[in-house]
Point group: C2
Chain length 492, copies 2
């Protein structure tokens, strides 16, 4: 198979779009801004889901399901949240079609089936969930509520890109309710940490934990915690957010509880989510000009075995060896595919599995049979080795761990060499325009400066890192005093 | 806890509604016709999903995800399908809200943000999926496509009931494409069999496999296979359907392939689905006046252990024993909960876990400690036994299997004693009105007779059983000749 992939150096954005489609992850649908997630892409998403779901349950959360639609009056109850999402809402106004008298066999919206109140297709579920929580919370004994939902949401984005920004996307959204502010803050931080663990240990994507400035905060939150990743083109990508909601939604939906002394108090809330956007982060963190590079923990196929043969007898002899290897690998929970298609040549298969990012490829031919060896190729480094068949399953299993670790280290090294401290606005612009990455700079803490810098450079404050050291300084733009550096970057 | 549940004899319908809410399965939301699936109910649904997903993958299917919205012109392409769903479609007409000048702080639909083409919220996904398949199929080598989707769908039903009929529901929908008619028919039958296996072996619900009459067939299908279950009130419930679509959607969306001889042919299709409606079937098949009865394979908690104690010392001694038992049970993959809440009395706990259908309850007090025993209660039979602690984990594990088996047998016995052969319309009406259940009768094969019988008795033809024996007879209503019996029933 010929890959014909635009290179990253030629056009990073084009490379990404082509790769997502050619590697069978997703494609644009006939519906504006909505994507089709293809089986190979969906299998990766399922792996993410399974691991996240396990982590949520381990931290005491349960899944539930809430309606897709939010009545307009409910949607507008928390004003800031409503205002934040109003401009990108899909609105259901009718509940029936009828035959179109002007176009035989065709349909039209039935004007007699107009809803009394419009329904918003959920862009996020705080409103519908907090209106439900009102019925679930009476006393402090009902708290905390620790609930997660796997769902689709719709945000009518004008410019969309596969996985990164789509009108409909899949996500999980956690919504919790607590008796005290301290507990809710702890929960928000805990879930940010769960996301960071997941990104780093499972997706091999290094992230910086931080909090958002007021400008970038979730509409309706008191504080937004985030994890920020860096893509290979030097642009940042927000990989997950966790919001401390204060009592905003409790007040909007009148969710109170009787405390231990019998006094009525408003509940404290959090919400947190990650989405199919992570698929975009995955592609842009690890992949190369040959195609996808998948960390072993996310690869639907971890090892592919390609036979090299000229006759049916050879294929048969190879198959016998491969079946032994396959069984040994499966016993070690390695997912393996024997690509014994007779319709394609080895070269085609090599290119296809490279494009699809299978971490390890094993080739085996008559020579290997004679020598008792296999040829083992790594997708990430594009290197090959000849390995004795004795104990090869342990070798492979160790190799997969090693690849996982090295992918993270490589991404971490890239990220770390792309955080640049600057002390003047000249330097700031220079770094943002040429090298990219995160720019660590002093900022005077005002939204006006943030806005101005964005206008001039397209860079925004990605976060105030949680681990920043206090350091007196002066704002890179206004010269006003600052107590520490924040991270700027252009972002997806 | 006081259950205060209406009994089935008093009012079956009320019993069902109360039970679903009180057992924490689901509740009505503020959105008309849409439900909230609560954590306990969702945990059961997750178990169904996991098992079905495993069965689908084992039969060669992959998951994918397609858009929530279907443009109207696409929706109407397959005319019969469109006509079948047109009357219950939620329609998105606008993509933005704006501030309402007449109501400060409130929002209104922005009239300037009207969509050029309305979007239908999918009631089912044949249209969007077949429009996608067009791009995926060129040659016979691309076939079969064996794809499943887990999703939410919306059908604007006027009268809704939790799980049984809701405006939004969760389901899976398989959509496959094949090179030959024979393969597509085989696939439809295979998936009906998968559903039947799942219902019987996992949900302990006996089902009858059959095909639908033309009247009851899925809009756009050539043949609808179904599995039909019988509820305790003598009404039937369609528990799953699998459709042979012929070339209808291939023609509507122009999905052709080049066969081995290079000739263009239309693809053959199937679709098949089960939904959260199965939750309703589960409740109505096994539960009783004390609450839910869950088959062990679907129970989020299979065993609950309740300590009976008067002092902290006693609780401590009991806990030591319970921890040993819990560990032993978990090792055998039994999910177990130790209900050591100090805020509730044992009687309350017993009632609560009965209401929630936990299959086995173990009680343990100081006397048991002395004697080295536990008290083991079965939820389904409401019987108790004292069991020695030696080897109790094997006893419990065997008991769970036994309960699973006996629940099925009990339901099967009920079902089998509620299939009544009738040979006159008098008898037909008499059985339908008094005893209920399936009525096995000769029918002349016309839609007119079917319709007339429905008008007079509210009974519809649930299916033409696949295993029916050919038997010459005359229609119970018209006296016209018939080649075999079909099953009538009132239905959910």
């Amino acid at each position: 198979m010929s890959k014909n992939l635009t290179t990253r150096a030629e056009d990073y954005s084009k490379w990404y779009n082509e790769l997502v489609v050619k590697a069978d992850l997703a494609e644009n649908s006939a519906v504006r801004g909505c994507m089709v997630i293809k089986p190979y892409g969906y299998a990766i998403w399922e792996k993410m889901q399974a691991e996240l779901d396990r982590m949520f349950k381990e931290t005491g959360h349960q899944n539930a399901y809430f309606p897709l639609f939010v009545p307009k009056s409910m949607f507008e109850a928390e004003e800031k949240n409503a205002e934040g999402f109003a401009k990108e809402c899909a609105v259901v106004t009718h509940y029936r079609l009828k035959n179109d008298p002007d176009r035989p066999g065709k349909l039209m919206v039935d004007p007699n089936a107009k809803l009394e109140e419009e329904l918003i297709v959920r862009p996020t579920s705080e409103a519908i969930i907090w209106s439900t929580y009102k019925g679930w919370v009476q006393s402090y004994r009902d708290l905390p509520l620790l609930i997660n939902q796997w769902a689709n949401v719709v945000r009518w984005e004008m410019r969309t890109r596969l996985f990164l920004r789509t009108a409909e996307f899949l996500w999980q959204e956690g919504h919790t309710a607590h008796a005290t502010k301290a507990e809710a803050v702890e929960e928000s931080e805990k879930m940010m940490n769960v996301y960071a663990d997941f990104a780093q240990n499972f997706m091999a994507i290094p992230v910086i934990k931080g909090i958002k400035t007021e400008t970038e905060r979730f509409a309706g939150a008191e504080e937004t915690y985030c994890i920020e990743a860096l893509m290979q083109d030097g642009k940042a990508l927000q990989a997950g957010t966790s919001h401390f909601l204060g009592q905003n939604f409790a007040k909007a939906f009148d969710v109170k509880f009787a405390n231990a002394e019998g006094k009525q108090e408003y509940v404290w809330g959090t919400s947190w989510g990650v989405s199919t956007r992570l698929m975009g982060a995955l592609v842009m963190t690890h992949s190369d000009d040959q195609g996808l590079v998948l960390p072993p923990s996310l690869a639907p196929i971890q090892v592919v075995i390609v036979p090299i043969y000229k006759s049916d007898e050879q294929l048969e002899a190879i198959s016998t060896e491969v079946n032994i290897l396959t069984a040994a690998l499966r016993k070690m929970n390695v997912s393996v595919k024997f690509d014994n298609r007779t319709t394609q040549k080895p070269g085609f298969k090599f290119a296809e599995w490279e494009l699809k990012g299978v971490p390890v490829r094993i080739a085996v031919g008559p020579k290997d049979l004679e020598n008792g060896t296999f040829e083992v190729a790594r997708r990430d480094t594009l290197t090959k080795e000849v390995v004795s068949k004795d104990g090869i399953e342990t070798y492979i299993s160790d190799l997969l761990e090693k690849i996982q670790k090295e992918l993270f280290e490589k991404a971490l090294n890239y990220r770390n060499t792309h955080i640049t401290e600057v002390n003047s606005f000249e330097e700031f612009k220079e770094v943002i325009d040429s090298k990219g990455g995160f720019v660590s700079a002093h900022w005077d803490g005002t939204a006006a400066t943030e806005e101005k810098i964005k206008e001039l450079t397209k860079a925004t404050i990605r976060c105030i890192p949680l681990d920043r050291v206090e350091e007196a300084g002066s704002c890179v733009f206004t010269g006003e005093s600052s107590i520490g550096r924040v991270l700027f970057a252009k972002a997806y």
